[in-house]
Structure formats: structure tokens, C-alpha cells
Amino acid sequence: MLSCGGFSYEKIIVENLKYKYPDTDQLALNDVSFEVEEGEVIGIVGQNSAGKSSLCLALTGLIPHFFNGAYGGKVLIDGIEVKTSTITDLSQKAGLVFDNPFTQMTASKYTVYDEIAFGLENIGVSREEMIERVDWSLKMMGIENIKDKNPFDLSGGQMQRVAIASVIAMRPEILVLDEPTSQLDPQASEEVFRVIQQLSQEGITIVIAEHKMEKLASFTDRILLLYEGKQIDFDTPQKVFSRDDLHDYGVVPPIFTTYCKAMGMKNKKTNTYPVTLAEVSSLLGGENNEWNKS
């Protein structure tokens, strides 16, 4: 499969990926295959230990280059094969936001500002551009007010935003986020998803593992459903969340979908249930729209 600069081509290709951590007997990823186009936003869902974090690590090369273990199949990131490449090369293409922001902090910088500049220093970006990119990241994440603080004096939610800022400052073509909003308040989570939306509109390809189904339903193009390392489905949020067997995989759909399923409110054209409040509203034919106006 050759990918070359068309309008939309496969930014990520995963082919029969299998992976097992050292000293374990179960495959963490078991025959996963999917392709993602440039600028798409993909949500990974599944219960804990389904393989979400492992897949995030595999897309950014930490599997197999940092974690070792048994590896089979192929992952291509913007045409580069992960297995035969290095983390250094991959880090210029794909950025990873860890699930624990603590893990992301370098512990070698005394201010949030320098922490965010760390990655840029390592790839030899000019001073002017560095300042421009750090300021842009601070602004995107709404954390200009804490730029002079020590990263380890921050609250969990603030640190999580610094972690995301430090990765987007690198302007990766592919951004992989592992539960990036787990410690954020509702509005801050919403803001992170809006930033993700904006970045995808700028052509950045995004993969995000999350438990917040309502957010994924609103902000992703397609959902990858994993269970015990296996790929169960890869389709639109409407199709995946309408599955009758979703519960068997330890996943519940957005509350809006649960309600519509119970009430038999199906979109007859697509044969799927609504996944967002807006879709419920349009299914009701725009009635009871008081709430939207306020």
C-alpha cells in the first residue's frame, strides 16, 4: 500500500498488529487492523485492559522500542514503518499525551513555560519560533496564567493541560491522547475537545482513548471498539454506539443513545440511534427546542 500526497490519504495504517508485553502470556493487542485518514479524529473505546493504552503506545513507537515484548504485524505512521524506525524519528511525526500527566513532566524544568519548550529544544527549533509555539500552546490550552509556576506545584487538572500543551507545541502531524481529560472539570474537558477539533481542522490526525462517550460521540469521526486486545468494530459513533451487544464489551453508549434505545427512537434513514443531544433534538423534529436557545 503506497501513500503519496493526495487530498486524503492514510495517515495511519495498522495491519494485523499483535503485541505481548514481556513476562505476560496474554496478547495485549490481538490482530488489530485499521486505517485512518489525514485530519480524522478517532476515538478508542473499551473497558480497562482492552488494549487502549497499548495501542496508543504502538502508534507512537514506544511499543516495541521502549517496552520490548513480542510484536507482529505492521504499523505505518505517515508512511514510516514503526518497527524499523526509531522513537526519535517517530517523535517528529506523532506525539503522545500520557494518561498520567505526572509521567509527561520532564522534572528537569522549573517553569511551565520551559517545560513546554523542552521538546522544541530537543529538535533544534529557532528561539523565535520556540517562543511563538510555546505562547500558542499556552493560549490553546488556556494556561497562560500559570506559565511561571513550577510544573510540580500544579493541580492535577492544570498539569494535565500542561502535558497536552507540551505535546501540541511540537506540532505533530499525528496526535495520540490517552485519556487526556481524566482530571479535568467539565468545562475544561469540553475545551480540550474543542482544541482537538480545531487541530483536526488544521489537518492534524487525532487518536484519543477516552471513557467519556458523550464527548467522543460529539467530537470523533469514527470509533475503534476494543475488547481483550481484539478489534470488535471500527465505524461511525452512530453505528458503534447503536450495537446491541455493546454492554458485553464493558462499554455503555452515551446516555442519549441509551434513552433512545429504550424508547425505540431510531433514525429510520440510517437505522441507527442518536448519539448526541443535537441528534435527539433533530429526531424530535426540532420541537422542545427551548433549551438550545438559552
Binding site: N48, G156, G157, Q183, D185, P186, E190, V280
Partner: protein, 267 residues
């Protein structure tokens, strides 16, 4: 009866920058959620309740003990706090040793501590990981270890800081059950939490904090009927509440089951 009485307290880390001001509240039996934007002062507040910090002015009584007059160790039998970041709490080489550490420190015998710890791990669903190194576990399981460590101490008051962080559907359901069981056993359960759906489904009382003050305090259903105020403090309504409004219903719904039952009866 277990309770925490907070009498008009104020607190600041740096002089002239109050983190909490004039907080006056009484926690009795109801399970209570503490919600608010990042930086509202929630974690500082629970650290004061636990006695890790002392108020600059005012007093806090934990089961009658003034936190100003007792050490954290003396208060530890009365009140347990599960930290937001499990890494702040975990330091032993195996899960079981980690969970037994607290119980042994408040005077449980080794055997008693082991039994309570295994029971707590069982309850939280990770007893099969008892002999593993906590740092070989995922972040979400490490969070469960930190919760089990507090449960095993059996304090009459337990405070959780973001217990659902990183938990999947089953993990959240299990936590919900644990909190409801604790409540039924007479344990006073308080929790800082950002997951509004979980708040709506689990807690009887909800306290909304903003900029170091309590701006709303009442039964959870009543609190979530104040839509504008909830938005003004950068929170959002539970999804079921949003859906109820979208459907044009006047009542405040807290769970999707309530909505389904209500509309089925109507049909």
C-alpha cells in the same frame, strides 16, 4: 453519629491570596459530592478536613475532635482520604503490603490488617492482584489500590478525591456500589468529583465550590435544578438532566433510568 463541623474557616498558602474563605458547613450522614472547577479549592478543603492543613481562622471538628488540637496521626482513625494521584500514596512493593500499611499503623494486628485488606481488595475487584507490584498495574488499577488502602483502615469518615479518574463503566459501577454500601453502614462518605453523571447517580447531597467559597449546597436534585448557576461556575449539568430539559420536561432528572421510567408511564 459521625460528622464534620466546619466553622467559618479561611485558608491561604500565600499571604494575601486566600484559597478558601468563610466556609461554614456541617457534614452529617448524607453522602456528599463536592464539585467545582479546577482550582476552586476542593482539594485544599479536603486536606483541611483530614487535618493535613490547619485553617488560618475558624475551626474544624472531626467527630468532635478539633483538627487544630490533634495530629494527623491521631485523626487517622477517624478520617481517611484517598488522594487524587495514587502515586502520591503508594510506596510498597506489593499490593497487599501497600493496603496493609495503613491498618497496621492505626493499631490493627497483622492478621486483622491482612483480613481487612483482602476484604477491601475483594470489594474493589482487584484481589487477584494482591501479590503484584503496584507499579506494574495500570493507573486505573493503582487508583483502586489507593482506595482499598483506605477502606481497609475502616475509618468512620472517608473522603475520595476524584475516585472515578480513569475508571471504565464497570469500575464506576463498582465504586458506586461501594459508596452506597459504606453509606448504608453509617460511614460518612464525601467525594470531590468532576463526573456529573456519577454525582447525580450516587450522592444525596452536593456542594458547589467556586473561588474558595461554597456557592450552592443542597440535595443533589435541587442543586442540578440551578442550571444557570451551574454554568456560571464552569460546570455542566448531568447528561440525563440535559436530556430531560431537551425533552421539554420541567422536573430535574438525575439518571437516564428515571427519564425512561417517567416517559414509559406517560405513554
Amino acid at each position: 453519629m459521625n460528622g464534620i463541623k466546619v466553622e467559618n474557616i479561611s485558608f491561604s498558602y500565600t499571604e494575601g491570596q486566600p484559597v478558601l474563605s468563610n466556609i461554614d458547613v456541617h457534614f452529617r450522614q448524607e453522602s456528599t459530592a463536592i464539585i467545582g472547577q479546577n482550582g476552586a479549592g476542593k482539594t485544599t478543603f479536603v486536606k483541611l478536613l483530614k487535618g493535613l492543613l490547619k485553617p488560618a481562622t475558624g475551626n474544624i471538628y472531626v467527630n468532635g475532635m478539633n483538627t487544630q488540637e490533634y495530629t494527623v496521626a491521631q485523626l487517622a482513625k477517624q478520617i481517611g482520604l484517598v488522594f487524587q494521584n495514587p502515586n502520591d500514596q503508594i510506596f510498597k512493593h506489593t499490593v497487599i503490603e501497600e493496603v496493609m500499611f495503613g491498618p497496621k499503623n492505626i493499631g490493627q494486628s497483622t492478621e486483622e490488617a491482612r483480613q481487612n485488606s483482602l476484604l477491601a481488595l475483594e470489594k474493589i475487584g482487584i484481589v487477584h492482584e494482591a501479590d503484584k507490584n503496584p507499579y506494574d498495574l495500570s493507573l486505573s488499577d493503582r487508583k483502586l489500590v489507593s482506595i482499598a488502602s483506605i477502606l481497609a483502615m475502616k475509618p468512620p469518615i472517608i473522603i475520595f478525591d476524584e475516585p472515578t479518574m480513569g475508571q471504565d463503566y464497570l469500575g464506576k459501577e463498582r465504586l458506586k456500589k461501594i459508596m452506597k454500601d459504606l453509606r448504608a453502614e453509617g460511614v460518612l462518605v464525601l467525594s470531590i468529583i468532576h463526573d456529573m453523571d456519577f454525582v447525580a447517580e450516587t450522592f444525596e447531597r452536593t456542594i458547589v465550590m467556586n473561588q474558595g467559597k461554597i456557592v450552592l449546597d443542597g440535595p443533589t436534585r435541587e442543586v442540578f435544578s440551578h442550571e444557570q448557576l451551574i454554568r456560571d461556575v464552569y460546570l455542566e449539568l448531568p447528561h440525563a438532566t440535559q436530556l430531560g430539559k431537551q425533552l421539554g420536561l420541567k422536573q430535574t432528572f438525575l439518571t437516564v433510568d428515571e427519564l425512561i421510567n417517567f416517559n414509559r408511564k406517560k405513554q
